[in-house]
Symmetry: C3
Subunit: 316 residues, 3 copies
Amino acid sequence: MMDLLEVLHLDELSHGLAKLSMFPYFDMAHYIMSVLALREQPGALEVSRVSPFACWFSSMLFCFGGAVLSGIMLAEPPVAPLSNSTSVLLASIIWYLVFYCPMDLVYSSITFLPLRLVLSGMKEVTRTWKVLSGVTQAHSKYKDSLLVMIAIGWTRGAGGGLIRNFEQLVRGVWKPETNELLKMSYPTKITLIGAVLFALQQTHYLPLQTRHLMLIYTIFTVVNKSRMMLTGSSSSPFAAIESAIYRTLFAGYSPYAALTGEATKACADVSASVATKESSKNRAADAPSPSPVMGQTLKAKEESERPEPESCKKMD
Amino acid sequence: MMDLLEVLHLDELSHGLAKLSMFPYFDMAHYIMSVLALREQPGALEVSRVSPFACWFSSMLFCFGGAVLSGIMLAEPPVAPLSNSTSVLLASIIWYLVFYCPMDLVYSSITFLPLRLVLSGMKEVTRTWKVLSGVTQAHSKYKDSLLVMIAIGWTRGAGGGLIRNFEQLVRGVWKPETNELLKMSYPTKITLIGAVLFALQQTHYLPLQTRHLMLIYTIFTVVNKSRMMLTGSSSSPFAAIESAIYRTLFAGYSPYAALTGEATKACADVSASVATKESSKNRAADAPSPSPVMGQTLKAKEESERPEPESCKKMD
Amino acid sequence: MMDLLEVLHLDELSHGLAKLSMFPYFDMAHYIMSVLALREQPGALEVSRVSPFACWFSSMLFCFGGAVLSGIMLAEPPVAPLSNSTSVLLASIIWYLVFYCPMDLVYSSITFLPLRLVLSGMKEVTRTWKVLSGVTQAHSKYKDSLLVMIAIGWTRGAGGGLIRNFEQLVRGVWKPETNELLKMSYPTKITLIGAVLFALQQTHYLPLQTRHLMLIYTIFTVVNKSRMMLTGSSSSPFAAIESAIYRTLFAGYSPYAALTGEATKACADVSASVATKESSKNRAADAPSPSPVMGQTLKAKEESERPEPESCKKMD
């Protein structure tokens, strides 16, 4: 392993990566993409006009949700992220510019495909740092509990998604019928995998150095995210593995077999077409938004990064 | 008191009981009955097919809800129950077997009346230990605060019920119109009474030894639960006391007296008949489930262990 | 500044005020007005008949919501307020008298205008103490973080309002479409302003002595509250400033300008008339309640202390 890495000069690269500071550029990219994700939620623009405060609070939950949620889970003050004034100030400025910039210049710029691609890539890099910090923090508190390490690493990295229901409540939106546990989005899945890998690495079950795993995981997430944005493909890279695991473990017995057997199969098959339909739906729903068509399509694709189509649940 | 106990050889029995280890058999019974309760929730089977992860998370909340909730209330990490790997592994295996066992063998077995009776009894025994551990933990933190001791003992023992709303949210179900505070179920009530008794005992207001109270409380809960399961009676043993307290304290004045006076009386009177109707409703709603009829009936009875009928609220 | 205060003998007054003990009279006024606010929520009386326990729990959240919420935010036990037995006992007695007193004597008395006026004034005084205690507590934990100080001071002072959604859930009511962040009520706004002022004072950005700021803030809140109750005016004293800030900062760009430009303007203009309509609505809805007409009108006014009318949101 080490030999291969050295041949490819990747060992030096991993040294460089591990020393990379997230502040301020990568953090900024994370804040920009988080606030952008909020702005592209249905109804968010209206909330930004009616109640700037609720909009700001929602933005902070998008930006610092992981820190807040993992704080609660470790019984540390959820208010702590607010004490880092510089980060909050930075995120607040970005929030203001994305939502209220005259002529909507900032939003128009960051939805410009190449810039959005770079910012998305940088945001993915911050994920590695967040997952690792969560895992090591849990490791220092609960020595050998893999599960706690995975849970904290996961919530630190994907907290914004996991508290989505309550973030929406701040904006007056309540969608109890769906959440990230019931139907994981791509970012939540990739973060969970990262948390598992880093937890195994920290407990020495995975014989890799931290910085090598950081490099591998970062490259995987950035490449995969870029591929998804460029090709507009909504297929998860884990769809095949997920499907295999599901068929092996969870399809053993079903009292609904007679009713849902074909439905479930049909669901799996129509996955792609439903995802496409969802994209069109998103595009239609967001029509009043004045972003360029390119950004629109990209967003729709990002939104639809879910392998299981909505209808599967309904059919059951 | 001591004499009476000695005559009946109950003192030795209480010694034995106090030394009884909950792990692994009683804990297993608790996990089995908890996961079974989840499986018998409407819609839970569908969730288990669509999202095994959400189903697993819900099961863990049923099994460890008390520890999680009392942890939050004492500002201790709610993630702590996850650090007990053995318990989580045991509960996860039981979750898997109850939901996904080939031929549904496990579910069919545990819904077989005599086994279900034994498991229910064992689960009731774990209640005593949980309430006591909650009360003593609160006692060590808040010396003489009866209320805190009761609150923590109660949430430790009945936490799964108290966080029901949020456990349902994990499965995409949201029923804000009801909760365990608004309409207490039998387990929640019996746990509250246990918490009050143990809190009084720990602060020496109740002149009993801990192990004697453990014995009395355990016998009461086990006998009462078995009686309810065998006779299918949904009448709470406290219905008379509750009614008396209600009439004395809370019926003094009502601006709705003219409207609801008779309605309330009617409610109290039709309690039994409504409970019976509910049982039939449950039986009908769960019809697709392939459990033996005996188990079905039992479950319906367990579900309807509520003295106040639904309609009372609506009539008001 | 000091000279002016001395001339007006206000310095001595501020000394006296700072030494004033909240317990028991001012605390009692706070409990009475909090329980009264709960009783005047639609549906609360029904809950008090159906489930006295849920009603009591809701009352405690109204009375101690600020302490519970700021406790959670600082990772301190949210159960801590229960450990102060005297306060809980006092609040429980008041809860009982307000809801279940024979002949409804207590409710009739406290809704008698002059008494209600005095109690409201005293409740406003407790706000100063709560905000200050929150700010100083945060100051001792997070040295120079203005934001944390503001957040804790605000939640301590206005916690009952901020957890309204979850307090309603206890009573089986769920209104996700509105919350105190989306549409701040007058008490929430005045508490936020107080938290900002005390945080600036504690960090010496505001060159005032603590007791002088206490005096000024207390006088302002009491006078303003009394004015609002007496004149029935629902206009916030900050409406002009808010409007100016909004127009300057948050109206820069709107993709909905063509659609909502006039609507927003119209909203601002019809604010008063809508508030009036709301008052009538409240009056009608609460008609079965047997309080004297004077109290009714006052309550309706208190309820409608919101500058932005409901319809603004809907129009957008």
